[in-house]
């Protein structure tokens, strides 16, 4: 009798711990949250200050001056233009290429599965190291790609060291690294689609272009949307590839937001301008990530349902 009673948890102790327990368990995560929020708020404060590391005595609030000066600053417009151009080009090209490859690999076969696993390798390569690999291959002296370019008639093709081809080169590296990301997401999406609509279409002899545009594409849209937004969020903040490849150069050809902020902070030690740049980028990503999270949650619910 007593043994049975002692095995039961005491109701009072149980109730208290149940209310406090989740907070105790998530406290470290909460602390990390606060740890992120403090530097974030500091950034906001910096962005409203005239603050140069080289002139700490002249540090004072100038309120919106950092932001207002952007309107007349051609360097800022260049940053905005290059960032949007980079993000737009990479995401569109990666989406098209990723979708095409996913369609090629759609059928489950040993070869297709093997290829899709192989294609993960660029994605698992650190982007900074991927940039170094491409830098070695595009070296004007001995780079194999420079040699290939000269074979197809492009003598003295300068890749990342010429302002006219630098963007093309870093976009190429981005495509190499991140196309597999879109590919595997869409491949998983394609393979999880219900088969009945396709069987019905095949039975009715519906043309394949019709099947693709009216059945496959609409059903795949949530996956395409999630993959695209995910990449867009990443791509507009690209730093690793561009910094490792050209450090924003030649000149200011590739000074995208994060590279420009980094150079502002460490080279011209203009903390205020650097912080204002980051706040603008943050506003863009915050807007995008809200749309993304909505889509992602919907897809996540669906994946839960399948399990």
């Amino acid at each position: 009798m007593t043994a049975v009673v002692s095995q039961r948890p005491k109701p009072s102790g149980f109730r208290i711990s149940k209310r406090v327990l989740p907070y105790v368990l998530s406290l470290p995560a909460l602390l990390v949250c606060i740890g992120i929020l403090i530097p974030f708020l500091t950034s906001v404060v910096y962005s409203f200050q005239r603050y140069r590391l080289s002139q700490p005595w002249a540090r004072q609030f100038n309120w919106g001056d950092n932001y207002i000066s952007f309107f007349t600053d051609p360097k800022f417009w260049n940053t905005l233009k290059v960032s949007l151009l980079y993000a737009g080009t990479t995401v569109v090209l990666e989406l098209l290429l990723g979708l095409a490859i996913a369609l090629l690999l759609q059928k489950r076969s040993t070869l297709n599965n093997f290829i899709s696993i192989m294609l993960l390798m660029p994605l698992m390569t650190a982007p900074a190291l991927a940039a170094l690999m491409w830098k070695l291959m595009t070296n004007p002296g001995f780079g194999v790609l420079s040699y290939v370019a000269s074979l197809i008639g492009l003598q003295d093709f300068r890749w990342a060291s010429s302002p006219s081809t630098a963007l093309f080169t870093v976009v190429l590296v981005d495509i190499w690294v991140y196309t597999p990301f879109i590919m595997i997401l869409l491949l998983a999406g394609l393979r999880s689609l219900p088969t009945q609509p396709f069987e019905a279409a095949a039975l009715d002899g519906v043309p394949r272009s019709f099947v693709f545009f009216r059945i496959t594409l609409p059903m795949l849209t949530p996956y395409i949307l999630t993959a695209t937004l995910f990449r867009l969020l990443d791509s507009i903040q690209q730093f690793d590839i561009i910094y490792a490849m050209t450090q924003g150069g030649p000149g200011d050809t590739l000074t995208v937001f994060q590279v420009e902020a980094y150079l502002n902070f460490f080279q011209s030690t203009n903390v205020g301008r650097s912080a204002a740049l980051m706040i603008i980028l943050w506003a863009i990503t915050y807007f995008l990530s809200n749309i993304f999270i909505k889509n992602w949650l919907r897809l996540r619910e669906r994946a839960r349902g399948q399990a």
């Binding site: 650190a126 291959m137 194999v144 996956y223």
Partner: protein, 285 residues
């Protein structure tokens, strides 16, 4: 669907071959370069057939580089060790902090739980430098600048959201009834967590840990901003190496090969979980 013509099969085959060449060539080429001496690398046109040499790897491992001008010290092994140490410790800390939190988020809906979870998630998508640049100034004041502790703390930004959201999904998949049954048997919540929830979510925790390791290993900007030479991981170290040793392309290739091998091997090992992990649980592989 089954009526594929011969022409179509040939076109598909050609397209796939091109895809495989484009995505595999850089890795294969750098791998080949890492076994060549500088003379064969610099030869034009590039050679496919050469006498492989291990000299590049020996130079990296011993840390001594023989050049015409004399011996040069290379600290690449130090970078490799930093990468291993930083990634392993960061993931361990993240698992320790993140798994209980993920369990709390999955099992107990409490006030503010979704807010914390989403704040963590949204900062995963915020620009890294937004937080990093003020942190450099704070770290200098706190004495955390260029310390492993400071770096591991910042690496939580990469690992924690990943682990929290992936593991949470796995915990949610466990039917709560199993845990209730065990609780009714008179066991404490901790015993339930340890004996029931943890083992059932085990594969998910392992997958999240592996993925967090890969992301921590591949990170560049955190260490670039916060670490100086003796604490730098391979991603930053290789970049510094390329500028300091200038023309030693064989060694640089060997360094790149050594730096990317761990993540590639882990990815192949864990590829089953990659789709789910990369999409933070939005897509099942």
């Amino acid at each position: 669907m089954e009526h594929t013509s011969l022409l179509e099969r040939i076109l598909r085959g050609m397209a796939l071959t091109l895809v495989v060449i484009f995505f595999m060539f850089p890795i294969v080429w750098i791998f080949m370069m890492s076994f060549q001496t500088n003379e064969t690398i610099l030869r034009i046109p590039p050679q496919l057939i050469f006498e492989p040499t291990l000299a590049n790897y020996t130079a990296l491992v011993t840390g001594k580089l023989m050049t015409a001008a004399g011996t040069l010290d290379i600290a690449f092994m130090r970078n490799l060790w930093n990468s291993v140490f930083l990634s392993v410790t960061s993931v361990a800390v993240s698992l320790l902090l993140g798994v209980p939190a993920a369990y709390a988020f999955a099992r107990h809906k409490f006030r503010g739980s979704e807010d914390i979870a989403f704040t963590l998630l949204s900062f995963k998508f915020a620009p890294a430098l937004l937080v990093l640049l003020p942190l450099t100034l704070y770290f200098q004041k706190l004495g955390l600048a260029n310390t492993y502790v400071g770096l591991i703390w910042v690496y939580q930004l990469i690992c924690l959201p990943l682990i929290l959201w992936i593991v949470r999904g796995y915990f949610e998949d466990i039917p709560a009834d199993i845990e209730y049954a065990y609780r009714i048997g008179g066991h404490s919540w901790f015993a339930t967590f340890r004996k029931i929830a943890l083992p059932l979510a085990g594969p998910g925790i392992a997958a999240a840990g592996l993925l967090a390791f890969i992301f921590a290993w591949n990170n560049f900007v955190f260490a670039l901003v916060l670490a100086s030479a003796d604490k730098q991981p391979v991603t930053v170290g290789a970049l510094a190496f390329i500028t300091s040793s200038g023309i030693q392309y064989g060694q640089i290739s060997a360094a790149i090969v050594l730096s990317i091998t761990p993540t590639l091997a882990l990815a192949l090992y864990a590829q089953r979980y990659l789709v789910e992990g990369l999409s933070l649980g939005a897509v099942k592989g």
